[in-house]
Amino acid sequence: MVVNKSTYIDSTPRTQGTQAAQSTGPTGHSLLVSGKQLIDICNRADFSATSPPNRSCVRLASRENPDVKAKFISFPPQPLPVGGPTYIEAPTQSTFEQPDNVRLSELSYHMLGALMPEAKEPASKYSKQLHTLRQLSAQGA
């Protein structure tokens, strides 16, 4: 299975510093951008961003758009330009394999539920939802 290299980016207003908190405001707006758009934004960004080496480097023009919020950025399968943003590459499926017959609800119930017991309820509900949908689908077929 080919896994798209995807990165979820969520902007969090700074909580430290009054000036920063005022400039970002309590709520932001969402912006859906593609990998190319992100690269364009980064290339146009006119501010100095500090980012740890070897980490994902996303520079958005926060000076112009202090409330900008980027979500679900999927990089296209093409080489990124030198100096452009990098991304955290997900481990390959072969190292951590989810068998095809395993549902998210099962995985969530047993594994996340073991660590966060409150996850069991939505996992169980989701499983029931899927079961109902399958039944309805079978009746309609």
Binding site: S11, S56, V102, L107, K125
Partner: protein, 108 residues
């Protein structure tokens, strides 16, 4: 009154919380904004392998604790570690040698 979220959305939120608490999210500091870079939670009908890895590591760490009841659901060989449901259905197959080694050492 706020609408109750769909179970899948609730699960997504919980995975995000889990990632923020247990993972090592990258913080990118811009001049007026900070960005937390996180993986997308679900890719198709699968859990993002990056989150799955974190989940497996924490699950195995939890299994080493007494009374967790998890250890019985793990089958391990030097090449492969299988995490199963209590009924024996494989949930995840791990072939990461380092993680298997760490698990075997913790169990010894």
């Amino acid at each position: 009154m706020s609408e109750e979220k769909e179970p899948l959305q609730q699960l997504e939120e919980m995975f995000k919380t889990f990632w923020r608490e247990k993972g090592n999210p990258s913080i990118v500091a811009a001049q007026h904004t900070e960005f937390t870079v996180e993986p997308k939670v679900f890719i198709g009908d699968k859990l993002n392998p990056e989150i799955l890895k974190l989940l497996v590591i924490n699950y195995l760490a939890q299994s080493s604790k007494q009374d967790s009841g998890i250890g019985a659901n793990i089958e391990v060989t030097p090449e492969k570690l299988i995490i199963k449901t209590p009924k024996g259905k494989p949930l995840v197959i791990v072939r990461d040698k380092k993680i298997i080694q760490q698990y075997l050492e913790a169990r010894a």
